[in-house]
Symmetry: C2
Subunit: 449 residues, 2 copies
């Protein structure tokens, strides 16, 4: 799992406090790779190695350790060393880290930070989770319109170690209102005319997000407009910060994992699966499990309703799980396909007639095939060939119903403004279970005389 | 759905062939927004408007239309106009487009392209889908080690309109072997020492991918090392191209949607849900549906095996769907949670004892709660209080079994090198169904005398 290639050497260097080699180790490799080579060390050893790196490099290497290790190191090591590290971290990452620290620890670290950083942290902490504000970083290149291309490039060089990204410069007026955007690409290709100003080359139609905007909408815009970063503004269009592409990948991952969890009837976990409290886990799963349980209870009453039929034709009972699961499985396939297609934008509301038409054909195909298998088995089990016909007819009807419910409900829920991933499968399962039993017994009554 | 704000004006401008205003429309807005405003126009109208944009701007605006529209426009319009557009498109996008064109159309367009572009297209076409080669673009800034920072910046300015990203420069030797990487950030912050060479400031520990590497591994590296782009090399470390962050987001989306589809027992679709052939759809769904169907058939034989018990205690039959679905639902919750946690890296093989311990606690909690509800209902239906006890004991055992199977199987499959998302739910469902019936009848035999 770990890359153990350098571990013995690293420990030797530490034992000998070999400054030259440790400094070299911290600087020659890619920062991410440096962190990887240290994964097998204990936290104390990692911390010791990190002290040999220059301050901003140290923060960069540190950022590649997983969240738990970062927390553990920051909780336990010397407060002034920790503060020095936190000062160099990207503004958005350090807020996330400080929010997870114990209250006492945060109280030890914060006063050691420069006042500007402290204010910045407080401001970023104030935005609620899941909004653009909570994702953004405040380290953004803000320049003025009258600046020349040449001066802007020099200024960028001076600020570059402070900035999370230098690939867009934002042009603001004296009140920090966002006036335009210049990409470093434009800047670099305008260098042959060094007297041009930012105002001359900026694009004034800037795609931005509101600080209160939902993170999924942020991700959607970044993807649609193919951006490396998106500026965050308040309602008066004052520039507050930016959100960079790496945070967007995280949002996309989170969003799609939530979809998958909702499809399986779990309220999305907001925390690491192994760390989330057991009570929370019980609650997030129990809620839908209980709803599904009540839906399934109805099947018990439905079956009791058909008591006499079931006693007359006892062999029908043996096929109940088969019929219910065939309907449920085909329905959940349809629902999942439609939900993932809606998330990726392939299916919209207006497409429902096409979706339905295709589902009818596919479900007839799948249903006929499975009915054939079901019929062959039923021939051995049912008292007569005529009786055995109940099974294929039921399977076909149940599978068609399952697919149609599975395909329609997500589109319908989306149209009603509800989350299709959350609502669909429990409903599909519930409806298909009951419908399956009703269809089954009624087909049996028709066929068996 | 469409932004119709500008449609009447646009049509007026077209009718009057108002060159000045149309040129302005194509240039003032963000290219993505320009495309958005044209969404309500017919393809012919869009194409006409595009002709008023400068060549590279035209390609940029064109890139924001959805894939279907792009294809339709390229299939039908004047071949030389199309070739002029294709020439300006990013190397990776135009390959994707040309691969989907009809063979005759491709044969009309390709000869109109400069020989260098034609060769480039052929080369990129040769890499198989799902590999780094198929994702990469060949437009990458390759510079030599001895170049000074100042010269490199000038060169970048000259090339910038040709390059997909200017944010990393790759340093190569005379055989195009990858020697190092310089970020534009480093370049810009080194401008105060303009005589430094790229060799002085480059990082020689470059994170790269092999051209044959799987796209998921590419995404994993870009995310882990937090890159804007990753270089693609052959086995001799010759630089072939780069993959940019926007392609990585697409890979992440694709990968997670595939996970969700596999969890619902559908072989992932490789194409748009509405466009994939009905035969393919039947096959991708039918495969797992049939496997699940055979698993469910076993329940029919299990129930037949318990024929005499079921006839003696007919009321037991009514609870069969409830018990099976309680086990199945809790199992698929566990499986989905573990699968999504493994995909995001939160759970690894070594965590299995912790996962199991937590699942035991959660399933006992959930099981007890649902058993209580089940017991209250059974009291009304079962002949005696003693008999009714069968239901809660069965529910508790089945839910615990379901959760443990659901949590263990994905970890086990992953360990065996199989795809946990694909294997888990069908197996969980199959095992839990059969086990549920066996547990149910045996508990009933124990309790009912």
């Amino acid at each position: 799992m770990f890359n153990t290639l350098f571990l013995p050497e690293l420990r030797e260097m530490l034992a000998a406090a070999n400054r030259v080699e440790l400094e070299e180790f911290c600087q020659t490799l890619n920062a991410g790779r440096t962190a990887e080579f240290m994964e097998g060390l204990f936290n104390d050893e990692v911390w010791e190695v990190l002290q040999y790196a220059p301050a901003n490099r140290r923060a960069e290497i540190f950022s590649y350790f997983d969240h738990e290790r970062q927390l553990a190191m920051v909780e336990t090591h010397d407060a002034s060393e920790v503060a020095a590290l936190v000062e160099e971290m990207p503004a958005d990452d350090r807020v996330d880290l400080i929010q997870e620290l114990s209250a006492e620890r945060a109280q030890q670290i914060l006063p050691l930070l420069p006042i500007a950083d402290r204010r910045d942290i407080q401001r970023l902490q104030s935005y609620s989770d899941g909004t653009a504000g909570a994702l953004m970083t405040s380290e953004v290149a803000m320049l003025e319109e009258h600046m020349t291309v040449k001066d802007a490039l020099d200024e960028l060089g001076r600020q570059s170690s402070e900035l999370e990204t230098i690939y867009y410069l934002y042009v603001v007026d004296e009140n920090n209102l966002l006036r335009g955007i210049v990409s470093t690409r434009q800047l670099v290709s305008s260098l042959k005319h060094p007297s041009l100003t930012l105002g001359d080359i900026m694009e004034s139609d800037v795609v931005a997000v509101l600080v209160s905007e939902d993170q999924e909408s942020v991700a959607e815009k970044v993807e649609r407009f193919n951006l490396l970063a998106i500026p965050v503004v308040d309602s008066g269009r004052q520039l507050l910060g930016i959100i960079t592409h790496d945070d967007v990948i995280d949002v996309v991952r989170e969003e799609l994992a939530e979809d998958a969890q909702r499809i399986a009837a779990v309220e999305p976990l907001e925390d690491n699966f192994l760390r989330v409290g057991l009570w929370t886990l019980c609650w997030k799963r129990g809620l839908w499990l209980t709803i599904l349980f009540f839906a399934a209870l109805l099947t018990a009453f439905a079956l009791r309703h058909y008591e006499t039929d079931l006693e007359r034709f006892a062999w029908l009972v043996w096929f109940i799980p088969l019929i219910i699961s065939a309907g449920g499985n085909s329905g959940s396939q349809s629902a999942t396909l439609v939900i993932t297609a809606m998330t990726s934008g392939e299916v919209r509301f207006k497409d429902w007639p096409l979706v339905l038409r295709r589902e009818v054909i596919v479900s007839l195909g799948l249903g006929s095939f499975l009915s054939l298998i079901g019929f062959s088995v039923a021939l051995f089990i049912a008292p007569s060939t005529n009786d055995a016909l109940v099974i294929p007819f039921t399977l076909l009807s149940v599978i068609v119903c399952g697919c149609l419910c599975g395909a329609t409900l997500p589109i319908l829920f989306k149209r009603l403004g509800l989350d299709p991933a959350m609502m669909s499968n429990p409903f599909v399962a519930g409806i298909v279970d009951i419908l399956g039993i009703v269809i089954y017994i009624n087909i049996a009554r028709l066929i068996i005389r």
